[in-house]
């Protein structure tokens, strides 16, 4: 789960991390009031959306006067901010963060993530702050210093020294840096974060380190023990259909193609997307109705997929294990009746009771439902149908 910058900063502040002073605003008036309340000489107005690269898209602006704060807030609120992470359609800005502007000495990058290879958290730091760290990782990987923190010993002073020496900090800077990191690492651990990113981490002219930006992601599986974090979820930032799918315990990801798919199991669902592509089509979604697929989950799957108006054909790919295919076949028929499926539905059922399932579908003889013999044929038929060819 993602949260906004203003939420992340508040949370980190509570752990004792040095973050910028600021306030969130939902309207132009609130923005101006926030700026006034901060009582500083200049401000930064920052659009609050769940995506990086806001600066380049015009979502981060400097303001010297309250009038400029108002102007920037007015421009940003309601705008569709497009960044390299939002896709072409961009994201609607509903909130801005008004932050004190600081005298910046130097910018760094700082991140904490789980390293899947080392199987421990890793603190990453770089002198290349304020830019896209992915680019740094590709072009100048030697400029990223990584220090793994083995849970057996936790964060130690030598970890901090390794990072600080790697960044080329002097003695005073090292002292300040060593004050900044421990509360940040504690926040990472205690909140079950999957990512903490401070980009840029800034060394101010007065010698202290401060988080100018903050990004936090959390392990969804651990949210049950952090209700205060779960409450920070901003559903307007997420794809509506994906949220609804999650409520039914289905796993759905919307894509841009026109062949919808309903599959049991995440691996088979990904593979179904792959084979659609291999047969010349484009998948409209990833949808895993779960290892325990039932008539009901299949029906829900149809509903979700058909909300996407791009979908011109649906491929149902089920491998029955403990789940019996005849039950799934009945589910498909029920769904087709209930929600008046208009587009062709290509069905491939294999595994437990597949033959019986085939009989059930054949007997029902609904013209949109086409039975395929195997996965490849199913993909071919679905791709043809989506192109408008008769199948």
């Amino acid at each position: 789960m993602n949260i906004h910058e203003y939420q992340a900063k508040k949370l980190l502040f509570n752990y004792g991390v040095n973050v910028t002073r600021g306030q969130v605003a939902h309207s132009v008036i609130e923005a101006e009031q926030a700026a006034e309340a901060l009582g500083c000489e200049s401000w930064i107005v920052k659009a609050q959306i769940h995506a990086g690269g806001r600066g380049k898209g015009g979502g981060v602006k400097f303001a010297r006067t309250l009038t400029e704060v108002r102007e920037q807030a007015e421009r940003m609120l309601g705008m569709n901010l497009v960044t390299h992470q939002t896709g072409e359609s961009g994201k609607l800005v509903q909130k801005v963060y008004i932050q004190e502007a600081y005298n910046i000495g130097k910018e760094f990058y700082l991140g904490i993530v789980l390293d899947r290879r080392l199987e421990m958290p890793v603190i990453m730091a770089s002198t290349e702050g304020g830019v896209d760290i992915e680019t740094v990782a590709v072009e100048t990987p030697e400029k990223i210093i990584k220090v793994g923190i083995d849970p057996i010993i936790g964060l130690q002073s030598y970890h901090l020294r390794k990072l600080a020496y790697g960044l080329g900090l002097d003695k005073d800077q090292m002292k300040e840096f060593s004050k900044f990191i421990p509360p940040l690492f504690e926040a990472y651990l205690k909140t079950d974060a999957s990512l903490v990113e401070i980009n840029p981490l800034v060394l101010l002219k007065n010698g202290e380190f401060i988080a100018l930006d903050a990004k936090l992601n959390f392990d969804d599986n651990a949210l049950y023990r952090h209700p205060e974090i779960a409450a920070l979820r901003d559903e307007s930032e997420e794809e509506a259909a994906e949220l609804e799918a999650a409520r039914y315990e289905l796993s759905y990801v919307k894509l841009d193609g026109n062949v919808g798919c309903i599959v049991n199991g995440a691996g088979l669902a990904m593979s179904t997307m792959d084979i659609i592509k291999q047969e010349g089509g484009e998948p409209a979604n990833f949808l895993d109705v779960g290892g325990n697929a039932s008539a009901e989950t299949v029906a829900r799957g149809f509903e979700l997929i058909l909300r996407d108006k791009n979908v011109k054909a649906i491929l149902v790919n089920i491998f029955g294990g403990i789940v019996r295919c005849d039950r799934i076949a009945n589910g498909i028929l029920e769904a087709a009746r209930l929600i008046h499926v208009q587009v062709p539905v290509i069905v491939r059922l294999d595994g437990t009771n597949a033959a019986e399932a085939g009989e059930i579908l054949k007997e029902a003889s609904i013209k949109q439902i086409i039975i395929a013999r195997d996965m490849r044929e199913a993909a071919q038929l679905a791709v043809q149908a989506a192109k408008g060819d008769r199948v």
Partner: protein
């Protein structure tokens, strides 16, 4: 012999009396798995599915000499169940549970290693040695006996692959679902090593997916150490970046963990990669005919 489990494995089921535990344990018993006990705290002394129930794994081990544990405990308590099994001296711990916090698994895995035990999963279908023992949730009949070792990150795709292998005229020695989480107890390399040494396995099929780099490390290992033929399939060639595809671990982070880089690494290592999910069986048949 096959690997890890056989008809002599003595299995204790943790979360035995719950809905999932009951359903799948019964399936395992019907398959012929030697389930010797169950554990559900507070239900010690009961008899369930004809097997004794204990309050703790330690009691179950002391009374029944169980050496494998199968875990169906809900996510919030599953890591604790793994730790308890390791502490009781269980050598092979199979955790089916999906949705365990990463931090909990990190710690549990370290402890399991420290105790010299092996964890399979979590978030996996389990392990099956055809005709001998099914310790998991897979449909047993799909896994007809044969001489192909199968390793997979995904559940249904494991059944799909096994089915293709059987339809192509071969069969399975042992199949292991290693799980789709970012941190898992046993990975491809551990099992490649076991299959390479197994007299009952002639060739290996590995099913990977996007996210992480286990497949790439497996490719390096295969290149150095394997003599038996390997066929692979990698799911998620069309998956978008930065989106979790069902499994907690199936995510392309930045530009890392794509299907293409895994396929390239495996091909470079001499592995026969089936690009289509429908051709795993035929690719294998072609390779070892």
């Amino acid at each position: 012999m096959s690997i890890l489990v056989n008809k002599d494995s003595r299995v204790v089921v943790q979360g035995f009396t719950g809905k999932e535990g009951t359903f799948h344990a019964q399936n395992c018993i019907d398959f012929g798995t030697n389930i010797v006990a169950g554990v559900t705290p507070g239900k010690g002394g009961m008899c369930h599915l004809g097997k004794p129930v204990y309050n703790t794994v330690e009691e179950a081990v002391n009374s029944t000499l169980a050496d494998v544990s199968l875990i169906f405990v809900p996510p919030a308590f599953a890591a604790d169940a793994i730790l308890e099994a390791a502490d009781a001296g269980i050598k092979l711990i199979v955790c089916i549970t999906e949705g365990i916090p990463v931090r909990d698994i990190l710690n549990a895995k370290k402890y399991v290693q420290h105790k010299g035990s092996r964890l399979i999963g979590p978030n996996c279908p389990g392990i099956i040695t055809a005709g001998e023992a099914k310790i998991g949730i897979m449909p047993g009949y799909v896994f007809q006996k044969g001489r192909i070792g199968l390793i997979s990150k995904s559940g249904t795709l494991t059944y799909e692959a096994a089915n293709q292998i059987v339809k192509a005229g071969m069969g399975i020695s042992t199949a292991v679902g290693i799980g789709g989480d970012p941190i898992i107890g046993t990975d491809f390399i551990d099992l490649l090593q076991l299959f390479e040494a197994d007299e009952d396995t002639d060739a290996i099929v590995m099913i990977g997916e996007i996210g992480g780099e286990l497949e790439i490390r497996a490719a390096e290992y295969i290149k150095e150490h394997l003599t038996k033929p390997v066929v692979a399939f990698i799911a998620g060639q069309t998956a978008p970046k930065g989106k979790r595809m069902g499994h907690a671990g199936a995510i392309i982070a930045g530009s890392k963990g794509t299907a293409q880089e895994k396929i390239n690494a495996l091909q470079t290592a001499g592995v026969e990669v089936s690009l289509s999910p429908a051709e795993v069986g035929s690719t294998l048949a072609e390779l070892i005919k």
